[in-house]
């Protein structure tokens, strides 16, 4: 196997007494879409910042392209494209100018930048906005422009920190579509997200982070197979009936998760579980049967709801 693009061993980040990233290990191979999944404060962004060399590591070992971020930060950044969590486009510049200045920061010749801008505006579906200011663009357009900006230097690794947070469903799907295309073209992607469906759709492999630690690792399919039984029965109750629910449902095997308004029952056979409920005269307000998802993996691993 060729050397991983990013390798972390015992990677740790501390801010004063706060342990943001706690001795994590991971390898990211060329050409894969790698996800960091976890709630806010899990340490995803801190990990991203160390990889992008804008936050020094506290302990452990980290290499990016086989280089040391502390010594070769500039050489690493030359080959990176970074999409930050919060847009930081230059509002005083036009769409095309935002791309242009990043091309210059990467020391690209002007002619190359111009050619690349045409391609990228098309990719981001912003060609007709080339000369308009950034301010009036919609959230989805700004996000796509930020992604285009990250691609100006034809990076070997693209890092996207919560790329679709705050976007409406339509904008999200358009963005996913663009990211698929990038993937198909062979780009290596690192994506952080707290959306399950995003991780399931985009990531070949992912790690689940919680409180600075990696609590699980694998492909979405593997994780679901390993940590969540095949099916999920969701029992919805009115609030007043949620009290004492754990005693009433304690007999269920395979584990349950009790949330504010519903109980999640993991099972290999949803039909059997439903029959059992009827036999025991348990009648929730609503019953929903579905395939288990990464969200269930997360609940199982950390015992709490992901989007908090």
């Amino acid at each position: 196997m060729s050397e991983p693009l990013v390798q972390a061993r015992g990677l740790t980040k501390r801010f004063g007494d706060f342990l943001a990233v706690d001795a994590v290990d991971f390898d990211i191979a060329k050409g894969e879409a790698f996800g960091f999944l976890g709630p806010n404060g899990a340490g995803k962004t801190s990990t991203m910042k160390m990889i992008t060399t804008v936050s020094p590591i506290t302990e452990g070992k980290l290499t990016v392209f086989g280089l040391d971020p502390a010594a070769d930060g500039r050489r690493i950044r030359q080959r990176l494209g970074v999409v930050p969590q919060e847009d930081n486009l230059d509002m005083e510049l036009t769409v095309a100018e935002n791309l242009y200045i990043y091309g210059r920061y990467h020391d690209m010749p002007r002619a190359d930048i111009r050619r690349r801008i045409t391609e990228l505006l098309e990719f981001a579906q912003l060609s007709d906005r080339s000369d308009s200011p950034v301010e009036p663009l919609s959230g989805g357009m700004k996000r796509r422009l930020t992604i285009a900006r990250a691609l100006i230097n034809e990076p070997d690794l693209v890092i996207l920190d919560e790329p679709t947070t705050g976007l409406d469903p339509q904008a999200r799907h358009l963005l996913w579509d663009r990211l698929y295309r990038l993937k198909r073209e062979g780009a290596t992607l690192i994506i952080t997200t707290h959306y399950m469906d995003e991780a399931e759709q985009l990531c070949d492999r992912l790690v689940v982070m919680d409180k600075g630690k990696i609590v699980a690792e694998g492909s979405p399919r593997q994780l679901i197979a390993q940590y969540a039984p095949r099916e999920v029965v969701e029992l919805r109750y009115p609030e007043e009936q949620m009290e004492g629910i754990s005693e009433r449902l304690g007999w269920l095997e395979g584990g349950i998760e009790i949330l504010a308004d519903r109980v999640i029952v993991y099972t290999d056979d949803a039909e059997a579980t439903q029959r059992e409920l009827t036999i025991r005269d348990i009648h929730p307000e609503q019953v929903l049967v579905r395939r288990s998802s990464l969200e269930d993996v997360f609940l199982k691993l950390t015992g709490r709801s992901l989007v908090d």
Binding site: F15, V54, S55, R74, V82, N88, E92, L93, Y105, D107
Partner: protein, 262 residues
Amino acid sequence: MTILARSWRWVESEAIGYRRVWRGTVISSFVNPVLFLSAMGLGLGTLVDSTSDQLSIPYLAFVATGLLAATAMQTSAGEGAFPVMAGIKWRKGFHGAITTPLGPADIVIGMMMWGAIRLSFVLLVFALVSVFLGALELGPALLAVPPAILTGLAFQGTVTAYTVTRENEISLSTLFRFGIIPLFLFSGTFFPISQLPQPLQIVAYFTPLFHGVELVRKIALPGADSSIVTSLPVWAHVAYLTVMTVVGIALAARWLDRRLRP
């Protein structure tokens, strides 16, 4: 890329944005000196010259040279304050730039270079307005610009260093209220510091704008006597302002690094 090449990339991006707003800034570059020189120089100056012979030159020439240095201070302090806070907190442009080959030091130096370019223009306009209003001869007016630029850079560097350690714009208005405005008033801009009580004169010797004002006058008004300037040598002013510039840039780069790359 060398550090200068990288910093120059920053200047390019500033210049691209500036193309859209330059008209407004050009107008204020003209309006400011016209207002100040006509009020202070022509208005107040007539009164001063007619009631006192303490100054060996017309008050208009005295105040024009002082205001040139003070304008440099104000312009550059502004450049070290608001765009820097914007880059860190309001628009976060710095956070994006440091994910490219640019680093915090490149940004600081780039901003200083851009500041120097903008300031040169502002001061050149000021000098020409002074000539037009009869405050200074053309030669001395132009000679006064480089020392005023040095004065400005000394302020831009240190104010940048201050700003990168601050959280909000209240700290910036505090700086202007308790730092920049008192300096503007008591550094010999409007009256020789020999008019101040002895203890305050000693304080003035240690303040930066005093050195900027003195340097501008010693260069632009050769032969100025002790009613206009102190007996401190030119090199002392240059050394003070140069050290302040270098220390300011070094601290700004270091502290911005700490701020952006925690």
